[in-house]
Symmetry: C2
Subunit: 324 residues, 2 copies
């Protein structure tokens, strides 16, 4: 942990309390000058730190900034977010995460950007990424699984995003096969997971997550061919992005370790309970003609199980699924 990070952590662990320069210097084993210098930097970053003579420093307000130090501090995860890299603006967090992966970055590395100049959704589609309102986040994983199981990570991240939205923001987010998160049918988050593998073994997976938190109606492109929304638009309340991100990373960490230790079944059950079309009549265009049937679940390789009207169960690996 950096010195700045340690000082922030001290402030966070002592809310409403004055910490003298001498105390901080002693606790962290750094000079008084170093304390003063880091407090100055924190103020420049937007932290309001009160200084009272004879009492010391007190943290009044932390800005809604996504700073690596703020994200990492006391995160409590075992794997995800031990290393966090934040950028004010980059082309795409997935691109940087892939480059880091190729350069042997450790598993669990998280890349965050306040703004993306080339945010992408799946199939190369543009993902609108205005500054300071949303989360654009990529997580590097190195699971030791055969490539046929790699799609499980898409469902893992979908569950973690939807549950964080539901518990922290009191929404009723649903997951849409294979990789969208909807609120009342409008897209509130998207996933773009990228994989690099050899013959039968995954090298690495980058989980790319874009979540519309405080985005305003006028910030959405006018030419979207689907409905989109944000937490602010749904609830009327701004979300603390830092709190949301930390809660999401904690949940993702717990579920990922569960997946590694117990396999896909717990995630599959959670995904099915969040799925917008579970047990409902759908029409599937899988390329080889249109079928209709009832969605009955998810397979271990990510295939959607659809029971056709004739009774037999089809496995859908790719294609469009529409509610009837």
């Amino acid at each position: 942990m950096s010195t700045r990070n340690k000082i922030l952590s001290l402030f966070r662990n002592h809310p409403d309390k004055y910490l003298s320069g001498q105390d901080i210097s002693r606790l962290l084993n750094i000079s008084r000058a170093a304390v003063w210098k880091q407090v100055k930097v924190l103020r420049e970053l937007g932290f309001e730190i009160e200084a009272k003579s004879s009492q010391g420093y007190r943290l009044l307000v932390a800005p809604d900034l996504l700073l690596a130090a703020e994200i990492e501090t006391d995160l409590g995860t075992r794997l995800i977010g031990q290393t966090v890299i934040t950028h004010a603006k980059i082309d795409s967090t997935n691109i940087l995460a892939r480059q880091l992966a190729e350069a042997d970055a450790i598993e669990g590395t998280v890349v965050i950007a306040d703004q993306q100049s080339a945010g992408r959704g799946r199939l190369g589609r543009r993902w609108e990424s205005p500054p300071e309102v949303n989360l654009y986040c990529s997580i590097l994983l190195r699971p030791k699984i055969p490539i046929q199981q790699a799609p499980q990570l898409t469902f893992l991240s979908a569950v973690a995003v939807a549950e964080t939205l539901n518990e922290l923001c009191q929404l009723t987010a649903e997951v849409k096969w294979p990789n969208d998160i909807l609120v009342d049918g409008a897209k509130i988050a998207g996933l773009l997971n990228e994989m690099n593998a050899e013959t039968e073994q995954v090298h690495f997976v980058v989980l790319g997550v874009g979540i519309n938190l405080n985005m305003l109606a006028e910030q959405f492109p006018t030419d979207l061919n689907y409905r989109a929304t944000s937490v602010l638009l749904e609830t009327g309340e701004r979300v603390d992005r830092l709190l949301f991100l930390r809660t999401f990373l904690q949940r993702l960490d717990a579920y990922y370790l569960e997946l590694v230790e117990e396999g896909f079944t717990p995630i599959r059950r959670r995904w099915e309970s969040l799925c917008n079309i579970m047990n409902r009549q759908v029409e599937v265009d899988g390329g080889a003609g249109i079928m209709s049937g009832t969605v009955v679940g998810l397979d271990a390789d990510g295939a959607l199980r659809v029971q056709l009207d004739g009774g037999q169960v089809e496995r859908i690996l790719a294609g469009d699924v529409r509610l009837l």
Copy 2:
């Protein structure tokens, strides 16, 4: 086709015949000086070209060199090998093919090296790559398939390699699940296929192929923990590397187009008929304990189907399979 390539093609199409500088110049619509210049370059590359006054040029001997022009000329494929890149020595053909793929190289691009300084097998293992005796070759494909089907390409390349060995060199090569080619139990070729994908869609696959053609016994490392061989060691005859490569690429091209058009069944059947353990008793260590049973086939996602002694069929996605 380059001018040099066109001249080579003319020579190849008129074996034992003298072609005058004037004929060549007229047929290819180039100057006499250009003909003379290219003949000079070809001679420097090792082609023996006889020049007889008043009769013209005649190709006597083509060197066993892997030159892009020689590989591409009249290859007759529809997709694979339309672009061929050859290097005397590079780190690894797979690494270059991946870089080309990221830089939007066209599907079917083939990368060849006479020698690799960092040839790799699967799981990061070293692949011995001495100069001028073997084939080190990577093929870039961009199949529009869900990632669960990507392992099909491993079986596709295994079939194309084994059949080329058997038909061109009169060997009895077998395929070993998931990705080796054996002759009498000794490894003669290895495959390292690498994939890059997003959520449910393959971006690209690089088929890496290493085939021991004219490798001598003393060129194998002494510390291999498996038996290895080459065509020369098995048959006592040197293989024309260019002929082998062209035949392999033609077969791969035909099978790949068949896979795209007809699905996996034809490749699966060929693979099963070449498989060294088909219908035989095996022991499987799949991580979760050891099972024994009979190999009954391959699934569409590359899983090996093993019928346990109790009767039920297990799908093996990864693990060690040993003949009993």
